[in-house]
Symmetry: C2
Subunit: 212 residues, 2 copies
């Protein structure tokens, strides 16, 4: 019975270059019956190859602002003049269906979600070391110093927020990492704090037996 719980809302953040996108893709491929990946809405234009409803829901500024007004977004933010946000309906439907829903968003969004839904599980993905992260950010030697500096500065900033998260997942081996994330989310269903009803029911039944 404990397994028929409502799904768990999970936010995955991490350094750019941590490989979190690949991990999520693999997780969905391997356990599509268990997880649902939330798709963000945005007002930015699709890049070549991006499709509406796959990478993002592409919306006009007017449509997006209507979603805000109708409280149809769990969280939203503006970056470089564009809106990004998490549509509520899909997330709630999937959670009610017992699926664990994953949002791949950065820390500001993560904290907004956590505030609204205190039960949210927060995972932070990191490469195995700072040196490795630097290598990935520096890239293949084709980037300007300016780009590299801004990426490093961003990583320094991102690192400041790690304490807000529940788990730190180290991505040194993709397959292992996918399994780690899978087990972390699965185990979360066994948290006492997520099973208060089950416990209360068992308690009541035991008391009833005991009275007989």
């Amino acid at each position: 019975m404990i397994r028929k719980n409502r799904g768990i809302l999970t936010v995955v953040s991490g350094f750019s270059g941590s490989g979190k996108g690949t991990i999520m893709k693999e997780l969905m491929k391997k356990y599509s019956e268990r997880y649902a990946l939330s798709i963000s809405a945005t007002t930015r234009a699709p890049r070549p190859g991006e499709c509406d409803g796959v990478e993002y829901f592409f919306r006009t500024r007017e449509e997006f602002e209507r979603m805000i007004a109708e409280d149809a977004l769990i969280e939203y933010a503006q970056f470089v003049g564009n809106y990004y946000g998490t549509p509520r309906t899909y997330v709630e439907e999937q959670l009610n269906a017992g699926k664990d829903v994953i949002l791949e968003i950065e820390i500001q969004g993560a904290l907004k979600v956590k505030k609204k839904f205190p039960d949210t599980l927060l995972l932070f993905v990191s490469p195995p070391s700072a040196g490795e992260l630097k290598n990935r950010l520096v890239g293949r030697g084709t980037e300007t110093m300016e780009v590299i500096d801004s990426r490093l500065a961003r990583a320094v900033e991102e690192a400041e927020g790690i304490e807000e998260y529940d788990y730190l997942v180290i991505n040194d081996d993709l397959e292992e990492c996918v399994e780690e994330v899978n087990h972390i989310i699965r185990n979360e269903h066994y948290r006492v704090s997520r099973n208060r009803e089950v416990i209360e029911r068992m308690r009541k039944e035991l008391r009833d037996f005991s009275k007989k």
Copy 2:
């Protein structure tokens, strides 16, 4: 690097009849390189077949009280006129060696350990339902009503403390349950709160890179 952490102290409690003893035995058999099971000291006499250092360390009352005086026990309590306690040295040695140490004790002991070592992970093992628990407590029809009543009363009491625990593990299938416990303890190593040093080091290195 994250995996070279100190071991995690884990307390496993549960209803009598939950099968927690069997789960722990299987866990040790399967993953002896990863876990160490703490053996309690007691002043009660060995039962037929029990060996010193296997089921318990059997000690005289005088020896036990010397251990108390020397602070050689993590926790101790008296039941029905006998002392029971957890020797400190073995636990600390194993934790320092990176092993996750498991104590199989009841709630009063669990809470004492948690108070002394706030990082302790607390697991509670339960049969899949109150009905199933009742069946196990009632036994094979050979018990007196008095024995059954006292077992049920004890279960009601034990159930009161479940909220103090971190995880509720449902024992419906032994093999699955062993794996669940294994994953819960393993994942605990990835908790942000258990990786503050790793995070701080990474942060410092990133800041240094960023300055260059």
